[in-house]
Symmetry: C2
Subunit: 132 residues, 2 copies
């Protein structure tokens, strides 16, 4: 028998916020939840599992659109793991690009910071570097 929980319980059990869950529903990641007569959303264990999937995917940095694609594949028994991996590799490339960009910033900024005397004088290598 299916145990049904309201959105607050679902949030607690999945580590999401109620706001997020509604947001995901509106974004089309989840099918619209069943409601009580009073209009309260109800979630069964399968839906909780989907919410959990979403949380994990979001924690790995997938965008909501990407999670939507992942969910589609997850739900599709005809999927090929190739497709899944392609999505993952794509996201992986995005991550690597961001890391490289940030490390580039970090390196330059560290150089500037290292050459700043950090005293009470106005002369500052960081500002000079930004000015050039």
């Amino acid at each position: 028998m299916a145990t049904l929980v309201t959105i607050g319980q679902a949030a607690k059990q999945t580590g999401l916020s109620a706001k997020m869950i509604r947001h995901y529903e509106e974004a089309g990641l989840l099918h619209k939840a069943n409601r009580t007569e009073a209009g309260y959303r109800l979630y069964n264990s399968q839906q909780l599992q989907q919410l959990n999937f979403i949380r994990q995917a979001r924690a790995l940095g997938f965008s909501i659109a990407q999670v939507s694609s992942l969910l589609d594949l997850w739900r599709d028994p005809q999927r090929s793991s190739k497709e899944v991996k392609q999505l993952a590799e794509q996201h992986l490339d995005e991550i690597k690009e961001k890391v490289a960009e940030l490390q580039q910033m970090q390196q330059i900024l560290q150089q500037l910071a290292d050459s700043c005397c950090a005293d009470d004088q106005p002369q500052c290598a960081i500002l000079d570097g930004l000015q050039k």
Copy 2:
């Protein structure tokens, strides 16, 4: 004598977009630009220098609020380089934190991707990993 340029020229010379320049003005980074009688913004070389400063700082990932602080220090002859360095170090810490976070994602995602056979079968280690 000061050569004055309109916003399009200023954009071209600083590598910013006209939209960005207006945005920075509205955000309070620049003092309001002088206008022609027709209402066109005019920029002198000092203002172009400030726009350049902003571009450099933004390229290093400083937020507009942080750039605002940097500009204040830059314009203040009484500044101490300590203050500047503190801002830089703070931003540096933010960058390092983001890098660490992304690398964490990258590592997990790479593991999942590596263990995915990437064939035509539905069985997929990535989806399994997201489900757990």
